[in-house]
Amino acid sequence: MIKKIGESGDVKSKNDVYVKIEPSDKLVIKVETPLFDLFGEKITEEVKEVLDEFNIKKAFVTVIEKNALDFVLQARVEDALRNALGERDEVQT
């Protein structure tokens, strides 16, 4: 279950993605990318794939993508998701 907001990435990085995942009562994937016409559907699919891997059916996902490859996007989604699922709390700095 998504307990809290999970984020990954930096809005400013090139060839990278910023992902924010928040709790929600429905599944919403918001994608912002200059490549929207070319890859918008595919990017949405790729995000969904990661959510399916973790069996998440409800979430509010914000993706700000700057020309990154699919595995980078999915790594960011997974990282944000695991954060939102409460996995990263134990890391000491």
Binding site: L69, F71, D79
Partner: protein, 283 residues
């Protein structure tokens, strides 16, 4: 134990979303995806996820795929659980001071290989970074069959003994010689420390040449443009390959013979061993 050339080990940071996809195109013998030094603590969880997914999706062509995990004491085990999969060839492990670390790593790898039906045995390359590690290096090599090479982290080693780095590296002679000797005695390769200055072609060439003379088989680098230089230095010469082939063909005719002659001269045992090693590393 598989033998392959490891003249060049190209580092890519585990957070480098741009360079990871291309690191296999340059023809490096190995690519080393790094989860340790080049990844800040706050990004370690992202980096291991990225490397896991990169291993699945990226085409590394003919380069051997190595991941440098974090020390076992900190995040190493989490790294392993995340990244171990079929495309992984070698685990490079830092801060190896004793054989317990290697035994633990060996056993973890065996478990994961079983669980995940991995079709080969993943190799290990330990990084020696302090005096204790250096003195224990024989025990370390003996601790696992998976070890294919030894390497030294020059900066951390010097830090640990309160030394400092100079251009001609006189301060590292003992450490490097010991690593090479132990590696070769146990049938492993010796890989020289990383060259970090992307713009210093001349410096890389000199350091590589010095390393080759000491018996090192390769070097770790960060700039793909440096692969050419490193390959030029560490590739065995045609003459040495030819001679090795001739020695081995003579040797094979009668392996139990007391003396081996070539061109009327006895071939010394050291040369026979060297020829064997050379030909195993040459495709």
């Amino acid at each position: 134990m598989k033998f392959r050339l490891r003249r060049s080990g190209l580092y890519v940071s585990g957070t480098d979303t741009k360079k990871m996809v291309d690191c296999g195109v340059y023809g490096a013998d190995s690519v080393v995806l790094d989860l340790e030094t080049s990844v800040p603590t706050s990004q370690k969880s992202f980096a291991r996820i990225l490397v896991k997914r990169a291993l699945k999706k990226v085409n590394f062509y003919d380069s051997e795929v190595t991941v440098r995990i974090n020390p076992i004491e900190t995040f190493g085990e989490e790294d392993l659980h995340e990244i171990v999969q079929n495309k992984l060839n070698v685990v490079m492990i830092p801060e190896v001071s004793n054989n317990k670390t290697i035994k633990r790593l060996d056993s973890l790898l065996s478990d994961l290989e079983d669980e995940r039906s991995i079709t080969h045995k993943i190799s290990i390359i330990p990084l020696i970074e302090d005096a204790i590690g250096l003195l224990s290096v024989e025990k370390i090599v003996e601790a696992s069959e998976r070890i294919v090479a030894l390497t030294l982290d020059a900066d951390d080693y010097l830090l640990s003994i309160s030394g400092s780095r100079t251009k001609n590296e006189g301060e590292l002679i003992y450490a490097k010689s010991k690593i090479v000797s132990v590696a070769k005695a146990y049938g492993c390769q010796a890989i020289d420390s990383v060259f970090l200055d992307e713009n210093d072609d001349e410096g890389l060439y000199k350091e590589s040449l010095a390393a080759k003379r000491m018996g090192f088989d390769g070097k770790r680098i960060v700039n793909p443009n440096h692969i050419e230089i490193v390959h030029r230095v560490f590739t065995p010469s045609l003459e040495s390959i030819e001679r090795a082939k001739r020695i081995m063909s003579e040797y094979k005719k009668n392996p139990d013979r007391k003396y081996l002659f070539l061109d009327g001269e006895i071939v010394r045992k050291a040369e026979i061993e060297s020829a064997k090693r050379l030909l195993r590393g040459v495709f």
